[in-house]
Every structure is written in structure tokens, then in C-alpha cells.
């Protein structure tokens, strides 16, 4: 099959990333999962290899590639066998840092973007709060203007990289009465007085990821911490969410394909009633369904990615890709667990981990239901 939409350069990049992932990440997956953590060195190595800045201009230390390079990275990161590690890296490459490039001043780019690309500064993204997630306009964290800066108070939850982050891209309300237009973005160093990691949350899956709850108490940040224009935060974070959802979709469906491959290999090897289980017709059809649904979701991701690469802003297709990949991946991980039978249920096999990790996709980055709201409204309903 032709490798549309990828070029031979993309395929070379893929081979490099794959070699790194299989040598330096995958062998540690079990150990990191048991620890419920992974070393910051992962970011350093990815930075050294240039994988954290594939599509940024070279003047900031980026690779100067196109958007499809990010898709390649997300796809190959699925090979690290730990959803938490892949997610942590995606937060850096495609969620918390892109707003700095898109909306930041030269000064902010020097101070944050360049070290982020090098893997020297780890980022987290502060949108979600105990009482507001996708409903961004209801964030309650406030930033009040004061002499030379802003005083921020509030609380953020479910923050990936929340314990290890050096800096946060933060969403806060700067005007209580201005609705959508009262939201602004900030970039904040996590060692700022008043910034506190309250706790690291215990999760059913994505266990290597440090998911934090963070509070801000009279946290003063200078004027230079404002990211983009005051009052434009809602629109700017909506832009960020598109990249977040599409990279999530790309990684998710690549993970589902790995699941399928594991299920397929097992179905050929495991015998019951005198033949490999994959030769029993029902299992063969399960696998055919899985492969078909993966391929359809995959092509939807590529369709959206090609539109992004062309400079379009395809909210509808991205929302669809996010929705469908999450559903398909979840179904595939459950079918895979079923095909592995008792082994699928045993903690010593990675099958249950994929099942637990995948379940987050239908929640994080905007739930399935939020995606359907967006799509339905765009369809005029």
C-alpha cells in the first residue's frame, strides 16, 4: 500500500523514532508502571534527539518539519507500551507548548519554547478545574491585575505532568463580567511562590503519568507572564484543544493497532479444539471487525491531519476523529482482552494495562459526549 499521507522523509523519521522507543522506552514499561512514574530523563533524551520540536522552526531549535511529523511521533510513541508516558510527551509536544509558539512574544519563546523543545523545561497545561473542564468559560481561577503583574488564585485538577512540570500554560479568568472574553492565558513557572502541587492523583490507568491537583494562592506573576492578548484566552485555548484532540486521536488509534496486532499474533498461536483460535470463524470475524474499524478511524485521523497540514482549521473532522478513535480503541482493547482470555485478565500481561489506559481517551481532552455536542452543533442541531 502506498504510504499516503506520508512522504519518504516521514518514514525515515518514523524509523528513527521507532528505534529509540523500542530501545530506550519499551524495555522499561513494566518497571515504570510498577513505580507509577517514569524518569524526567525521557524528556531530556527526546529533546536531545529533536523529537520534541519536530514541526517548530529551526531558529527555536525545532526540526522545521510539517504537522505530519507530529503525527508520526504520536503514532510511534504508542510503541512505548505505557499510555502514561506517551500522554506525558504529547502534553509537551502538542498541548501545553504550542500556545507559546503561536501566541507568545519573542521573549517568551526564548525563555520557554526553546528549553521546552530541548526537553529542559517540562510543561503542563492548566485548563481543567474541579468544577469546569470542557466548559472552559466557567473556569473559576482568577487573575487580578495589580501593579506590574497579576495575582492568581484558584485550583486546577487532572493536570498531566502536574508534579514534574517546570512551567504551566494556564487558563484564568481576567474579567468576571466579560464571559468568553474574560478569559486569558498565562505562562507560569511552577516555582513561583503561591503555586502548590496539592497531591498526585491515583488513577485506574495511565499510571506512569503524574496527574496533579494544583492550587494557586495569591500567586503573583509579572506582566510578561500573560500569553497572547488579554481576553483572548478562550479562543486561544480552543485552538490548542484542536491540536490536543487530533494528536490524542493519532496516538490512540496507533495504540489500537498495536493491540490488534497482539491479538492477531496470539490468535494464531493459541490453540483450542485442535486449531488456532483465529481459525475459529467467530474469532476471525472479531479480528476482521477490529481491523476494519481501526482502518476507518485511522483514515479519518489522516483526513483531519492532512487538512491541518494544509492550513485549515477542521474542528468538525478533529472532533469526529477524537470521538471515533476513542470508541474504537476502547472496543479493540476489550476484544483483545477477550481473545487473550485468562491471560488478558492477568496483571503480568500488558493487555489489561492497555484496557485500563485506553478507557481515559473517552474522557480526557473532552469526553465523547462533549465531542458529540460539538459535532452536532456544527451540523446545525
Amino acid at each position: 500500500m502506498s504510504s499516503w499521507p506520508f512522504s519518504s522523509e516521514h518514514e525515515e523519521l518514523r524509523a528513527q523514532i521507532r528505534a529509540f522507543v523500542s530501545k530506550e522506552l519499551a524495555p522499561h514499561a513494566e518497571e515504570w508502571e510498577e513505580q507509577g512514574d517514569f524518569p524526567d530523563l525521557v524528556f531530556t533524551r527526546l529533546g536531545e534527539l529533536g523529537f520534541l520540536g519536530l514541526s517548530y522552526p529551526e531558529e527555536y531549535g525545532g526540526g522545521g518539519g510539517d504537522y505530519l511529523c507530529n503525527i508520526v511521533l504520536a503514532e510511534e510513541m504508542a510503541g512505548c507500551l505505557s499510555g502514561g508516558v506517551a500522554m506525558a510527551v504529547a502534553v509537551q509536544t502538542d498541548m501545553a507548548v504550542p500556545p507559546l509558539y503561536k501566541f507568545g512574544t519573542e521573549e517568551q519563546k526564548k525563555r520557554y519554547l526553546i528549553p521546552a523543545i530541548k526537553g529542559e523545561k517540562i510543561f503542563c497545561l492548566g485548563i481543567t478545574e474541579p468544577d469546569a473542564g470542557s466548559d472552559v468559560q466557567n473556569v473559576r481561577t482568577t487573575a487580578v491585575k495589580t501593579e506590574g503583574g497579576w495575582v492568581i488564585n484558584g485550583r486546577k485538577i487532572f493536570i498531566t505532568n502536574g508534579r514534574r512540570a517546570d512551567a504551566m500554560t494556564l487558563v484564568a479568568r481576567t474579567d468576571r463580567d466579560a464571559g468568553h472574553q474574560g478569559i486569558s492565558l498565562f505562562v507560569v513557572d511552577t516555582d513561583t511562590p503561591g503555586y502548590k502541587v496539592e497531591r498526585v492523583l491515583d488513577k485506574v490507568g495511565m499510571r506512569t503519568s503524574d496527574t496533579g491537583e494544583i492550587s494557586f494562592t495569591d500567586m503573583f506573576v509579572p506582566d510578561e507572564a500573560l500569553l497572547g492578548k488579554e481576553g483572548e484566552g478562550f479562543y486561544n485555548i480552543s485552538w490548542e484543544l484542536q491540536g490536543e484532540r487530533l494528536i490524542g486521536a493519532a496516538g490512540t488509534i496507533a495504540g489500537a493497532r498495536r493491540q490488534f496486532e497482539a491479538a492477531l499474533a496470539y490468535a494464531k498461536e493459541r490453540e483450542t479444539f485442535g486449531k488456532p483460535i483465529g481459525k475459529h470463524q467467530v474469532i476471525r470475524h472479531y479480528l476482521a471487525d477490529m481491523a476494519t474499524e481501526i482502518e476507518a478511524a485511522q483514515q479519518l485521523v489522516y483526513h483531519a491531519a492532512v487538512l491541518v497540514n494544509r492550513g485549515e482549521y477542521p474542528v468538525r473532522e478533529i472532533s469526529m476523529a477524537k470521538l471515533l478513535t476513542g470508541e474504537v480503541a476502547w472496543k479493540v482493547s476489550d476484544r483483545t482482552l477477550q481473545i487473550f482470555g485468562g491471560h488478558g485478565y492477568a496483571m503480568e500481561m500488558p493487555i489489561q494495562r492497555a484496557w485500563r489506559d485506553t478507557r481515559l481517551i473517552r474522557i480526557g481532552g473532552g469526553t465523547d459526549e462533549v465531542m458529540r455536542e460539538i459535532i452536532g452543533r456544527m451540523e446545525g442541531l
Binding site: I283, A288, I375
Partner: protein, 379 residues
């Protein structure tokens, strides 16, 4: 818009759509009641050149451009009659394609040229009462007799079968040779011993689907299409395009049915607002739209590989499976959103529902597609 198509393709799309909207779609309901449609439609389509997109000019085509043909297929799905688009498609993509791919220049002149003009209607006869996708199990025979062949057997579920001027027939020329014992022949409708009978169907009603019987049908060797024993290979080779056509038609049809459902959902009010504005329906529409978009991306993936000269068996089977299962689900949702009206024969929702039910059966059932996909993975 997909980068598969050029601006010229989009112009063609506008022309075909205008023709379909003005001259075909308004009659879809009546033709469904009639369980037929005028033969002159073939001549009109031929005159416009829409049968000939993938065929070269020297044999009366207007191409060759497979993607232009894709545009025609997609727009014909907007007729709103599975039977009419199937009849036109079975002529253009089955009968004509077999004659083009395996015929001699004389055979092209005799059957293909008038077919592309819409003056002759063709059908393809492979399926039998006891064998469909299991092509090796066909029982119709062709026995050599001097320079002629004597064909005996029967075919069923043959689209256009009841009114075709000629049928491309698969028959066993060597019953002991398995796959390599199958050969193709062209049988004209007025040949003694050939009979066609209409089959009444749940959907696709105007499609003139027939059961054919062959009792001592004598045809000269000049009616043999391709090599002796080459029939199985020919059928396999054409499956890719046939299934791609079904996938393309299913996606385009599902898009049309979705729009019909959505228009109704925005128009019909209950409890003080359009039913489409209730959250459950908004979400059901979002699910449909998402799957239609994925189905199109999947189909275009297979199409892209096909036009680049590959034989993407797996991707084509996936596209055929996914799109046709989906088209029926969308039609069922369309009936549901229409409520009582959805169940009434005077509304088009039920027709989409009946017509799309054939998708997971025709051209190889969904279960056969899964067998094929499974085989490509070594299962």
C-alpha cells in the same frame, strides 16, 4: 474536499448532480411503485457520456478516468433509488467492464459501444441459486460442440437480468478443473433456450432483477469472453472495482439519507422545539456524521490504492463491509427520526431503509467480507 479530485471533476460533479436532480430523483418514488423505470434513461445517460468515463474514446468512452467515474457513482447515489442506481451501475461497472477488460476489438464493437451509448443494456450473470460468492461452486455448464458452446444452467439475483439485451455468463467449461474450469460467455437475450423471469424484491424494486435459465443455449465461440478457463480470474479481478463501487455508492447514499433525516429533524417540532435540537438526537446525528466521514476516508483510501494500480483486497473488503453496514444503520435512524411518517410508503425514508438493506448482502455479504479480511491476515 479530498485531494483525489481535480476542479474538472468538481465541474463534472455539478453537471451530474444537476441531471440527477432534474431528470431522475423526481421520479424515484413512482419508479419504485412501478418496479421499473423507462429504458430511455439508459439512452439519456449514454448521450451525456456518463457510462463511458473510465473507457477510452476509441471504443465510445469519454475517458479513461476512473475518478470521473467515481464522481458519477457518487452522484447517482443521489437519485434516491437504489434500484435505478444499481441498474445503471450493473450495466456500466459489471457488464461493460467485463466486455472491456476481457473482450476482443470485435466484441467491443458489438456489445460495448452500443452499451456506452445506452442503446443496449447489459447484465452480469455469476450468482446461481446454490452458489454466490463461492464461485468455485457454480453449476452452470458450457459444453463445446464443434465451433459452438452449449450452455445449461441457471442464474439468479441478476440485476438488469429481466430486461438485458445481453448477459455476461460464467459457466463451467471443465467441471473437474475447479477454479480453472470457469469461462465467460456473452449470451444475447433472443438466443433460443434463454429465459428471464423477474424476481420481486424487498428493495431495489426498479432494478429489473431476474432469474435466468439456460436450456441448451447455443452460442458461437465468438461469444466467448477471454480465455477458456479464465473466468475465475476475471471475476476476481473485477471484484475490487465492483466492491469499490458499492462502497462509494453506500457512502454517498448514506450522506444523502443523513441529510434527509437532518432536514426533517430541524423541521419537525415536538414539545416546543425541533426534534433535532433534543440532545439525544443531536448526539445520534453526531455519531452518524462521524461514521459517514470515517467511511468515506476508508473508501477513499482503498480507491487511492486502486487507482495507483495496486490490488488492495483487504482495504476494498473493509470499505465494502463498513460502508454498507453503516448505510443501513443510517437509513434505520432516518426511519426512526421520521416516526410514523418513516413507516409510511408515501415518505422516502422507508425506501432508503429497504434499498440499503441489500448492501450487506449484495456483492459478497458482510460475513464474506470478514472472511476475506481474516484471510489477508493469515486466519
Amino acid at each position: 474536499m479530498s485531494d483525489l479530485f481535480t476542479p474538472e471533476h468538481e465541474q463534472l460533479r455539478a453537471s451530474v448532480r444537476s441531471f440527477v436532480t432534474k431528470e431522475l430523483a423526481p421520479h424515484a418514488e413512482q419508479w419504485d411503485r412501478d418496479e421499473s423505470f423507462p429504458r430511455e434513461i439508459f439512452e439519456r445517460v449514454g448521450e451525456l457520456g456518463y457510462f463511458g468515463m473510465k473507457y477510452p474514446e476509441e471504443i465510445g468512452g469519454s475517458g479513461p478516468d476512473a475518478l470521473a467515474d467515481v464522481v458519477v457513482i457518487e452522484e447517482f447515489a443521489r437519485i434516491g433509488s437504489g434500484g435505478v442506481s444499481a441498474a445503471l451501475g450493473a450495466h456500466k461497472d459489471l457488464a461493460c467492464l467485463y466486455i472491456y477488460n476481457f473482450g476482443t476489438p470485435e466484441q467491443h464493437e458489438r456489445w460495448l459501444r452500443p452499451s456506452l451509448e445506452g442503446k443496449a443494456i447489459g447484465a452480469l450473470g455469476v450468482t446461481e441459486p446454490d452458489a454466490g460468492s463461492d464461485v468455485a461452486g457454480l453449476r452452470t455448464t458450457a459444453r463445446a460442440d464443434g465451433n459452438d458452446w452449449i450452455i445449461d444452467g441457471s442464474k439468479t439475483f441478476i440485476t438488469n437480468g429481466a430486461w438485458a439485451d445481453y448477459v455476461v455468463v460464467a459457466a463451467k467449461t471443465d467441471p473437474d478443473a475447479g477454479h480453472s474450469g470457469l469461462t465467460l460467455f456473452v449470451v444475447d437475450k433472443d438466443t433460443p433456450g434463454f429465459e428471464a423471469r423477474r424476481i420481486r424484491m424487498l428493495g431495489w424494486r426498479p432494478s429489473q432483477t431476474g432469474e435466468l435459465s439456460f436450456s441448451g443455449v447455443r452460442v458461437p465461440d465468438s461469444h466467448r469472453l477471454g480465455e477458456i478457463g479464465g473466468g475465475f480470474y476475471a471475476i476476481m479481478r473485477n471484484f475490487a472495482w465492483e466492491r469499490l463501487c458499492m462502497a462509494l455508492g453506500a457512502v454517498a447514499g448514506a450522506t444523502r439519507t443523513y441529510e434527509m433525516a437532518k432536514n426533517y429533524a430541524l423541521e419537525r417540532e415536538a414539545f416546543g422545539r425541533p426534534v433535532g435540537k433534543f440532545q439525544v438526537w443531536r448526539h445520534r446525528f453526531a455519531d452518524m456524521a462521524t461514521r459517514i466521514e470515517a467511511a468515506r476516508a476508508l473508501t477513499y483510501r482503498a480507491l487511492r490504492a486502486y487507482v495507483e494500480g495496486e490490488d488492495p483486497i483487504r482495504e476494498v473488503a473493509m470499505a465494502k463491509l463498513y460502508t454498507n453496514d453503516l448505510a443501513f444503520q443510517v437509513a434505520d435512524e432516518c426511519v426512526q427520526i421520521h416516526g410514523g411518517y418513516g413507516y409510511m410508503m408515501e415518505f422516502p425514508a422507508q425506501r432508503a431503509w429497504r434499498d440499503t438493506r441489500l448492501g450487506p448482502i449484495g456483492g459478497g455479504t458482510s460475513e464474506i467480507m470478514k472472511e476475506i479480511i481474516g484471510k489477508t491476515y493469515g486466519l
